[in-house]
C-alpha cells in the first residue's frame, strides 16, 4: 500500500471524486501496472482532458498535463512526437474522447502513435451532473435525455480498431485483475493502445437510471459483460447482447514517431547541410 502512495502527490489528496466512483479503481490499476513494469517515473508524461476522470493526473507524481476538453490526445501527440523517448499516457472519459475529442482519437489511432489511452467510460457526463454522452446506451436516462436516449452509443473498441489502433482492450472496474493486466499490456505495446474501462457513476448515471448504488452499478456492469475467451466457447444465444471484455485486438503496423525518426535520419543522410546542423536540439537520432 505504502509503496503505491509514493506515486501520488499526497499533498493534493483527498481527491474530488464521489464515494463509489470508479475513477479511483482505474487510477489504482494504472499505478500498480506501472509499478509492476518498473517504469521510470521521470520518463512518463500523463495527459488528460476535462471531466471527472481527467482529474486523475493531478493526483499523480509524474509530469502531468491537464488540458482543454477533448484535446488530451492532441496535446499528447505533441509531447510524444517532440520527445519520442517519453512514455505518454492519456487518461480520458467517454465524453472527452468520444464526443468533443472524437476526431483526435481516431486520427491518433490512424497514425498509430505510441500513446496509451485509457478511456474511463461511465456512460455519462459526471462532472456536469449526468447529461447523456455518446456512450449512454439507447433508451437510458440522462439529465439531457429525460425521456430516454434516442441516440445510439459507439462501440469504442470497434471504432479504435477500425481507425487503426494496434492494441485494443476492454476491461471494467468490476474485473479488477483483468483491468490491471490489460493496462500493463497496453503500456508495453509500441503503438496506439486503447483500454476502454467500463466504470460506474452511481451519483448520476446509477441514480438517474435507478440502477442503485456503487455495488449495484458494478453488478450492472458485470452482468452485461463476458470475457472474449469465455465467449469463444459459448453458443451464440448466450453471447447475445453481451459486451466483450479482454484483449480484443492486436495489429501489426510500424509506430508513427519511430517512422518519423527514421525519416529524419534518411533526410539527413542525403542533406548536404546536415553537418552544419549537427547538435541542433531535438535531433535525437544521429544515425550517421
Amino acid at each position: 500500500m505504502a509503496e503505491f502512495l509514493s506515486y501520488f502527490r499526497q499533498d493534493r489528496l483527498p481527491h474530488i471524486w464521489c464515494p463509489g466512483c470508479g475513477n479511483g479503481t482505474v487510477t489504482g490499476a494504472l499505478i500498480r501496472a506501472i509499478d509492476k513494469l518498473g517504469l521510470d517515473k521521470n520518463n512518463i508524461v500523463m495527459v488528460s482532458g476535462i471531466g471527472c476522470s481527467s482529474r486523475a493526473v493531478g493526483y499523480l507524481d509524474f509530469d502531468t498535463l491537464h488540458t482543454t476538453h477533448g484535446r488530451a490526445i492532441a496535446f499528447a501527440t505533441g509531447v510524444k512526437l517532440a520527445r519520442p523517448r517519453l512514455k505518454v499516457i492519456v487518461i480520458t472519459g467517454d465524453g472527452d474522447s468520444a464526443a468533443i475529442g472524437g476526431n483526435h482519437f481516431i486520427h491518433a489511432a490512424r497514425r498509430n502513435i505510441d500513446i496509451t489511452t485509457i478511456i474511463i467510460n461511465n456512460n455519462t457526463y459526471g462532472m456536469t451532473s449526468g447529461q447523456a454522452s455518446p456512450m449512454t446506451p439507447h433508451g437510458m436516462l440522462g439529465t439531457t435525455a429525460p425521456y430516454g436516449n434516442v441516440e445510439y452509443n459507439f462501440d469504442l473498441c470497434e471504432l479504435a480498431k477500425a481507425a487503426g489502433a494496434t492494441y485494443v482492450a476492454r476491461a471494467t472496474t468490476y474485473h479488477y485483475v483483468l483491468l490491471e493486466d490489460l493496462i500493463g499490456k497496453a503500456l508495453m505495446h509500441k503503438g496506439f493502445a486503447v483500454v476502454e474501462v467500463l466504470s460506474q457513476c452511481p451519483t448520476y448515471f446509477g441514480r438517474k437510471n435507478k440502477i442503485g448504488g456503487a455495488v449495484d452499478s458494478l453488478n450492472w456492469i458485470k452482468n452485461q459483460t463476458i470475457n472474449i475467451k469465455a465467449a469463444a466457447v459459448l453458443p451464440p444465444e448466450k453471447r447475445e447482447g453481451k459486451i466483450l471484455i479482454g484483449e480484443l485486438h492486436r495489429g501489426e503496423k510500424a509506430e508513427f514517431t519511430q517512422q518519423y525518426l527514421e525519416l529524419i535520419a534518411r533526410v539527413q543522410r542525403t542533406n548536404p547541410t546536415y553537418a552544419r546542423n549537427k547538435g541542433v536540439p531535438g535531433c535525437e537520432l544521429n544515425s550517421d
Binding site: D63, L81, G282
Partner: protein
C-alpha cells in the same frame, strides 16, 4: 547582392526565421493563404532534426504545439482566420499555463470562409480578445517581407522569454509577396533560450521570479514531475479556486506583459513632429499609406506617418505622445476600424479620427489614401 540575400515570400521568411530561431516542432493544418509555411516546415524541419506533423484540424495543431513546447521544444503553427478562430481556446490555455508558442496568422477576408485568397486585417481584435477571459498576449505585425523574418524571430525571443503565446499578424499580400531579404549570419545572433530551473528540489512551477513575474519552466521528462493545468492554480501548479490565488495569478499574468509595454513597443514614425495630419496604419495597408504620406509631403502638406509593428500590448502612452502634435488622424486599415478603436482610446476624442476602412478584399492604392488625406485636410 551578398550571398546571404534571397528573394522570398513573406510566408517563406516566417519559416526561415523560425528555423533560425531554433524551431523544433511544427503542427498545422492546411489553410489558404498560410499553407506554404506548413509545406516548407515539412521539408525543412527534418533536415535540422525537427518535427513536422499535419494535424486533423487547427485545434489539434495548437494543442500539439503546446504539448511539444512543454517538453522544451520551440513550437510554431501557422493559419488564417477560420483556423485562428478554432485555435482560440488553446491559445487561452497557453496564456494561462504560460507555455511559449508562436502562431503565424496570415490574415484573409472574413468573417467565416470569406474570401480565402484576399488580404484583410480583420483579426486584429481576435488576436487580442479571441479567447475568453483576461489574458496576456503579444501580437506583432510585419510591414514587409524583411520584417516577416525579423518579427518571427522576435516572436520566438518574446515567447520564450515571457512564456506567452505570440501572434505574428501578416496577411495574404505580405505572405505571398516576394522581396529581397538579407539573411543574418547565424554567428551574429543569439538563438532565444528558455530560462530553466537548476534543480527539481523545491521546484515551484508557478513561483513568479521576483525580477519580472515570469516563472522558470522545467521541460517535461527531465525529472521535475510538475502539474500543468488550465484550471487556476497556485505556485505549486495545484488547482485552486481560492479567490486570492485566482486574482493574484490573473493579475501577475497580465502585468508580466503590461509592465513591459514600452520595452515591447516597436514602430516606425516619420514627420509626426510638425504634422497637421497623422496617418496611422500597420501591415500591408501601411505600404500604400506611406507612399501617400510622402507624396503629400512632396506636395507641401504637413502629414506624418506612424506604423505600428507591435500591436499588442498596445503602446497607449507612446501613441498618445507621438500623435500629440497632429490636428487630425487618419487610420487606413483593411477592416472597419479595429486599429482606429485603439487610436481613439489612446489619442482621445478632441481631434477628428477618421476611419478609412477597406473591406473589399483588395489592398489600398496609394491614390485612395492620398485622396483621403486631401479630403481630411
Amino acid at each position: 547582392m551578398s550571398e546571404n540575400a534571397k528573394l522570398m515570400q513573406g510566408n517563406e521568411a516566417c519559416t526561415m526565421a523560425a528555423i533560425a530561431a531554433g524551431l523544433e516542432f511544427y503542427a498545422g493544418y492546411p489553410i489558404t493563404p498560410s499553407t506554404e509555411i506548413a509545406e516548407m516546415c515539412s521539408e525543412e524541419l527534418p533536415k535540422v532534426g525537427g518535427k513536422f506533423i499535419q494535424m486533423e484540424d487547427e485545434i489539434g495543431s495548437i494543442s500539439a504545439c503546446i504539448g511539444a513546447s512543454l517538453t522544451g521544444a520551440k513550437a510554431m503553427t501557422a493559419t488564417s482566420g477560420p483556423g485562428f478562430s478554432l485555435m482560440q481556446e488553446s491559445i487561452g490555455y497557453a496564456s494561462l499555463c504560460e507555455i511559449p508558442v508562436v502562431i503565424i496568422d496570415v490574415q484573409r477576408m472574413g468573417p467565416s470562409t470569406g474570401m480565402p485568397t484576399s488580404p484583410a486585417q480583420g483579426d486584429l481584435m481576435q488576436a487580442r480578445w479571441g479567447t475568453h477571459g483576461d489574458h496576456p498576449i503579444i501580437a506583432l505585425a510585419p510591414g514587409n517581407v524583411k520584417e516577416c523574418y525579423e518579427l518571427t524571430f522576435r516572436a520566438f525571443e518574446l515567447s520564450e522569454k515571457y512564456r506567452v503565446p505570440v501572434v505574428v499578424l501578416t496577411d495574404e499580400v505580405i505572405g505571398h509577396m516576394r522581396e529581397k531579404v538579407v539573411l543574418p549570419d547565424p554567428a551574429n545572433y543569439m538563438i532565444p533560450l528558455r530560462a530553466m530551473p537548476q534543480s527539481p528540489a523545491g521546484y515551484k512551477p508557478y513561483a513568479a521570479d521576483p525580477n519580472g513575474g515570469v516563472p522558470l519552466m522545467a521541460p517535461f521528462g527531465t525529472g521535475y514531475r510538475w502539474h500543468c493545468t488550465g484550471l487556476f492554480h497556485d505556485e505549486n501548479g495545484a488547482p485552486s479556486s481560492k479567490p486570492a490565488v485566482a486574482s493574484a495569478l490573473l493579475r501577475r499574468l497580465n502585468l508580466k506583459i503590461e509592465n513591459r509595454v514600452d520595452e515591447l513597443a516597436d514602430y516606425v514614425a516619420e514627420g509626426l513632429e510638425d504634422c497637421d495630419l497623422a496617418v496611422v496604419s500597420f501591415g500591408s495597408s501601411a505600404m500604400a499609406a506611406l507612399s501617400a504620406v510622402r507624396r503629400s509631403r512632396d506636395e507641401g502638406y504637413r502629414v506624418g506617418m506612424l506604423r505600428l509593428k507591435t500591436i499588442w500590448p498596445f503602446p497607449t502612452a507612446l501613441v498618445r505622445r507621438l500623435l500629440a502634435p497632429a490636428k487630425k488622424i487618419l487610420v487606413p486599415e483593411m477592416n472597419l476600424g479595429q486599429l482606429a478603436i485603439e487610436i481613439e482610446r489612446a489619442a482621445g476624442c478632441e481631434r477628428p479620427i477618421i476611419r478609412l476602412g477597406k473591406v473589399s478584399g483588395e489592398l489600398f492604392h496609394p491614390d485612395e489614401v492620398f485622396a483621403a488625406i486631401k479630403e481630411a485636410l
